[in-house]
Symmetry: C2
C-alpha cells in the first residue's frame, strides 16, 4: 500500500489495461466519482456530447452484457487465430504473449461477470467525423484514470461493433448515436504497473515529419514494446 | 503553492483549457516528460499509432506556426460572429462569455508566440474510422494532464483544418496521416481550477438510453455549464 493518494504523473505512467476482475461490486458513490471525473474532460466548445450508459444488473443491462459477451468471444477467437496466439510464444509458458492470451481468454469467458460495463457514446450534433473522437475519448481516458485512482481498473474495447444493432434495440439507443467504446471496470485481480510502449524517439518528431527530436528520451527503467507488425 | 505533487483525482478535476501563456519556454526535459506521459496512453492492440510533431523555433516550425496563426484568427473571427460574442453578454464586462472572448482573442492574436505547439497525428494502418480517435485522443488527454502536473497548461483545437494541406507541404506530413489535433502549451497566465460541465445526471444513463441513474450526482461545489445550443 502506498501512503496517500496516487500522484497525477504516477497515475498517467502506470494505468494499464485491466482485463481480470475480482467479483467485488463498485459502490454507487465510487461509480459516480469515476463518471464525474470522466465528464471533466474537454470537448469541442465544451458541448459535452459524451454519454455514459452504465450496464450492471438491470434487465436490459443483462441482455446487453450477454450480447457483448457473445461478440467478444467471437472477436477474441478470430484475433487469437489471426495473431498467432495459439502457436510459438503464444503457447510457450510465461511469455508475455501467453499471459496476454490467458488474460484475454478469461476476460471474454467471464465477461458477463464484469462488475460494471460502461458504453461510452457520442451524441452527434452534426455528421460524425474522425475529429469527433476528441469529444468522447478524452473522457474515456479520464474514466480509466479515475478508476485507477479509486483502486479499480478497466479496459476499453470496440468489440461491440459486431452486435451494435442489437445493442441499440435492447437499450433504445438512437440510430445516430455513435457507440464509441465499451469499457469494462472492476477491482483488478492483478496489479497496475508501468506500461510498455515504443521508445519515445519513435513517436516524437520536431520541425518535420520523421525528424527525430534528440531531447525525446525515455526515463531510466522504461519498458518497451513495439506495436504488432502492420498487416498488409 | 500546494505541498507535494498534485493527486490524480485532483488533476482530472481541475485541468482546464489554458489559452493565455507566459512567454517562458518549456525546457527540453519537461517537454520530454509531457510527451512520455502522453505516450503511456492506451491504443488498439497497443499499436501506438499516435505521433507528436513538435513545433518550436525551427525554420519549418515557424512557417507552420504562421499558417496555424492565420487559420486560427480566421476561425475565431467566424465563431465570434456566429456565436454572438460581439453582442449581449459577449460584450458586457466580466461575464464568462466576455472573458472567454478576450482569452480567445489573445490566444489567436499571439498564437505565433505560444511556447510550444504540438501537432498530434495518427499514422494509419487501415482506412480511418471514427474509432481511430481512440488511438490518439487518450494520448492527447494524457499530454494535457501531464503538462498540468508539471506546471504548464494547454488547449486542444482542430482549427488547423483550414490549412491542413499547406501544413503537410511545409512539414512533409504524408497524405494518409490524420492531423488529429493542434495542442498549444505553455506556462499559464491565469490558473487552473474546477471546470464547468453539465450536471452528471444529464450524461450518465443506466440500463437504457436516457434512463437517469439516481446515484449519478455531482459532488458539492460542482460548477455547471451546459453546452451551446445545438445549431439547426
Amino acid at each position: 500500500m502506498q501512503d496517500g493518494p496516487i500522484s497525477l504523473l504516477e497515475g498517467l505512467a502506470t494505468t494499464r489495461a485491466i482485463r481480470r476482475f475480482r467479483p467485488d461490486p463498485i459502490p454507487d458513490e465510487d461509480l459516480a466519482s469515476i463518471l464525474w471525473h470522466a465528464s471533466r474532460a474537454p470537448s469541442g466548445s465544451n458541448r459535452q456530447p459524451f454519454r455514459f450508459l452504465v450496464l450492471r444488473d438491470g434487465p436490459r443491462a443483462r441482455q446487453a452484457r450477454a450480447l457483448l459477451g457473445e461478440a467478444f468471444r467471437a472477436e477474441w477467437q478470430a484475433k487469437r487465430t489471426a495473431d498467432g496466439y495459439d502457436r510459438g510464444s503464444g503457447v510457450a509458458p510465461n511469455t508475455r504473449k501467453a499471459r496476454m492470451a490467458a488474460a484475454m481468454q478469461q476476460f471474454v469467458d467471464r465477461f458477463e461477470e464484469t462488475p460494471v460495463v460502461v458504453l461510452a457514446c457520442h451524441e452527434p450534433y452534426r455528421a460524425l467525423t474522425p475529429f469527433d473522437g476528441a469529444n468522447v475519448y478524452p473522457a474515456c481516458q479520464n474514466l480509466l484514470l479515475a478508476a485507477r485512482a479509486l483502486g479499480y481498473g478497466g479496459v476499453m474495447t470496440m468489440w461491440h461493433v459486431l452486435v451494435a444493432d442489437r445493442l441499440r434495440e435492447v437499450l433504445a439507443i438512437p440510430a445516430d448515436v455513435f457507440l464509441a467504446a465499451t469499457i469494462a471496470l472492476g477491482r483488478p485481480q492483478g496489479s497496475h504497473g508501468p506500461v510498455r510502449r515504443r521508445p519515445l524517439g519513435e513517436v516524437v518528431y520536431e520541425d518535420g515529419w520523421g525528424e527525430s527530436a534528440r531531447w525525446a528520451v525515455d526515463p531510466p527503467g522504461t519498458a518497451f514494446a513495439g506495436g504488432p507488425r502492420r498487416s498488409g
